[in-house]
Subunit: 320 residues, 2 copies
C-alpha cells in the first residue's frame, strides 16, 4: 500500500512515448499493491496501469507473468493486458526498475463478498484454469509445501507470543502436510493469490482478475483451496457453506474435478491456509515498529487450519 | 501521501447514489495529499476525485473551500468543482468523515518547472486573484505573521541541531518580520500553498489549479511571494531570476501591482519563506521515527530567507 518509487513527469512522458497511447494527461500513484508501485495513468486514448516492479519481484519471473496476462487476454479472460511498445516489447524500464504499461480494468473489489460473488468467482477461476492450459510459460510455485517450514522456522521461537501452544501445533501440522501432500493432481497455471482484492466487480458482474504476480504451475485444485479460504469465511472466522457451495459447484460446472481432487480438497485447504499462516506470521513478527503497512493477523489462518482439520470430505464444503 | 480512511465498496456506492454521476466503475486510493484521503473514482459519466477530510482540516472551514472552488469554476478558472448532490449540497459524509465529490482535473505537476511554466503560473495566479475578488466567503490566514512564532517556539530549543546558530538567527528574523509586516496591502482571496504539485499542466499548457485547503483572505502579494519561493529557486537553492521575471511580469500584465506591493515584495518573500520554514522545522523535529512520510528539509527555506534579506527592491527579482 505504497508508492515506493517516485516518477517524474518528464521520465513518464519519455516512457509513454514508446507506446501508441497518445499524450499523457495525468498520473496518480495508487495506494494498492504491497509488492510493486502502481500508477493510474490517463492518456488521450484511455486509462492504464503503470507498474514498476520493486525488489520483492524477481525480474526473471516477469516474462512469465506478462506472457500469462497476454495469453489469458487472448483467450477472452479479462485481466490487465501488458501493452507492447513500438519494438513489440511488454517489459520496459523506468526509474531504474523493470516497468510495464497495462490496460486498466474497471471494477471494484468487494469487501464483503456475497454468495453471488463467490459463484461468479468459481466460474471465472475455472475459465482461467482452462484458458491457461496451453500457456507454455514455466514457473514453479515458490510458496508450496516445502517452502513453508523454513519461513515458519525463522519465527517459530516467538510464535507462542501470539497464542500458547501455537508453535508445537503448527510444527505438527507442517509435518503432517509434508508427509501427505498430494503430488499427482491435475496440474496447470494457477493464480495462487486470488483474494477478493484481486477480483473486480461492476455491480454483481465479475469484471476482471488482476495481480498475477504469484502465478505459477501447480495443482489446479490448490487454487480452489486458496479461494475457499479467502472467500468463504466470515469476519468471525466461521465457515460459510452457502458461499463455498456456490463457488465450488460453479467451478465444477466449468471444469469437473477428478476423484483425486475431490478427495484431496480438505488437505489442500489446510495447506493453502498454512501458506498464508506462515507468511503472515513472519510479517507479523518482523514488521518494523511504526511501519505504514499494518500486518495481517496470522491467527485468522490458524483458525482456518483447525476448521479444515475437522473436515472429512469435500461434501462438507458443499461440493456436490 | 497516504490513505487514512479505508472506504468499502458498498459505502462508496451508497454515497455516489446521491449524485447524478451514474454507476461506480472503479476507485483507487491515491498516494497524494498529506492532509486528506483522496480517491480517484471512475463512474459511467467520467472521472472524479472523492476527498475525505481528515483531522487536520477544520470542518468549519469546508464551506469556504468548497464555495471558493465553485465560485472560481463559475468564473472560468479550472479547478476541482465540488458536485452538488440531489439536495444541492456539496458537503456530505462518508465513513464518519466530511466528504466531497469533485471533478477530476487532468494534468500532471511539473517536477522541474521551466520558464514557460512560471510564466503560465503568473498569468493563472493573477486570473485567480481577480476571479475571487467578489467571493463573499471569509477565512482568516491561520499561518500568517503572528502564527509563526508559536510554531517556532515549540521546537526552537532543538533548531541548532540542524545548524549552529539557527535558533538565534530565526528568532531575530521573526522579530523583524513582526515589527515590519505590512498590513495595508490590497487584500483578496489567496491560495497560500501554490507549489508546483498544486498546478497541473498538459504539455506546456496550464490545465488547472488544485488543493485550495489553505486558501484564505490575505494580502494578494503574499501569494506571489509564496510562488516566488516555490517556483523560482533551483535544487541547489540558487535564485533563478529568469523564472521570477517570467512569473512576476506575467502576473503584473494581468493585475498591476501597486507601489506598496512592489516595495513590500522582498519583505513578503522573507515572510513567505519563514511560514514554510517554521512548519517544516516543526515537522522535521516532530515526525515519528519510521514514519512513512519523510519530512521536507527546513533548511531549504532558511536559505531562501537569507537570499531575500539581501534583496533591496523587487527589481532584483526581475519585476519591470
Amino acid at each position: 500500500m505504497a508508492v515506493y518509487t517516485e516518477v517524474a513527469d518528464e521520465d513518464l512522458a519519455a516512457f509513454l512515448a514508446r507506446y501508441d497511447v497518445g499524450a499523457l494527461l495525468s498520473f496518480k500513484g495508487i495506494a494498492e499493491g504491497v509488492e510493486n508501485t502502481n500508477f493510474l495513468v490517463h492518456t488521450e486514448t484511455g486509462s492504464y496501469i503503470l507498474t514498476l516492479y520493486e525488489r520483492r519481484v524477481d525480474p526473471a519471473d516477469l516474462p512469465f507473468f506478462l506472457g500469462l496476462m497476454e495469453h489469458l487476454s487472448e483467450k477472452g479472460i479479462t485481466c490487465p493486458l501488458p501493452l507492447q511498445d513500438r519494438d513489440g516489447e511488454t517489459l520496459g524500464r523506468l526509474c531504474g526498475r523493470p516497468a510495464a504499461l497495462l490496460t486498466f480494468i474497471e471494477g471494484v473489489w468487494v469487501r464483503r463478498p456475497q454468495v453471488e460473488h463467490c459463484r461468479a468467482l468459481g466460474t471465472s477461476l475455472a475459465a482461467m484454469h482452462k484458458a491457461a492450459m496451453d500457456y507454455s510459460g514455466e514457473r514453479k510455485n515458490g510458496l508450496s509445501v516445502n517452502d513453508w517450514r523454513p519461513i515458519f522456522a525463522a519465527v517459530a521461537d516467538r510464535a507462542d507470543t501470539l497464542q500458547a501452544g501455537l508453535a508445537a501445533e503448527m510444527e505438527a501440522e507442517l509435518t503432517f502436510l509434508e508427509a501427505n501432500w498430494p503430488g499427482d493432481l491435475p496440474q496447470g497455471v494457477i493464480h495462487a493469490d486470488l483474494f477478493p482484492d484481486n477480483v473486480f466487480f461492476i455491480g454483481s458482474r465479475l469484471s476482471g482478475l488482476i495481480d498475477f504476480y504469484f502465478a505459477c504451475r501447480d495443482s489446479l485444485a490448490y487454487d480452489i483451496a486458496v479461494c475457499l479460504n479467502a472467500w468463504c469465511f466470515e469476519a468471525d472466522m466461521s465457515f460459510n457453506a452457502t458461499k463455498a457451495r456456490a463457488m465450488l459447484n460453479a467451478y465444477a460446472a466449468r471444469r469437473a474435478l477428478t476423484t483425486a481432487e475431490f478427495d484431496a480438497l480438505p488437505l489442500l485447504a489446510r495447506g493453502a491456509a498454512m501458506r498464508f499462516f506462515v507468511t503472515r506470521l513472519y510479517d507479523w513478527l518482523n514488521h518494523p515498529p511504526g511501519a505504514f503497512v499494518r500486518p495481517k493477523d496470522p491467527l485468522e489462518y490458524a483458525k482456518r487450519i483447525r476448521f479444515h482439520r475437522s473436515v472429512r470430505t469435500a461434501t462438507e464444503y458443499g461440493l456436490d
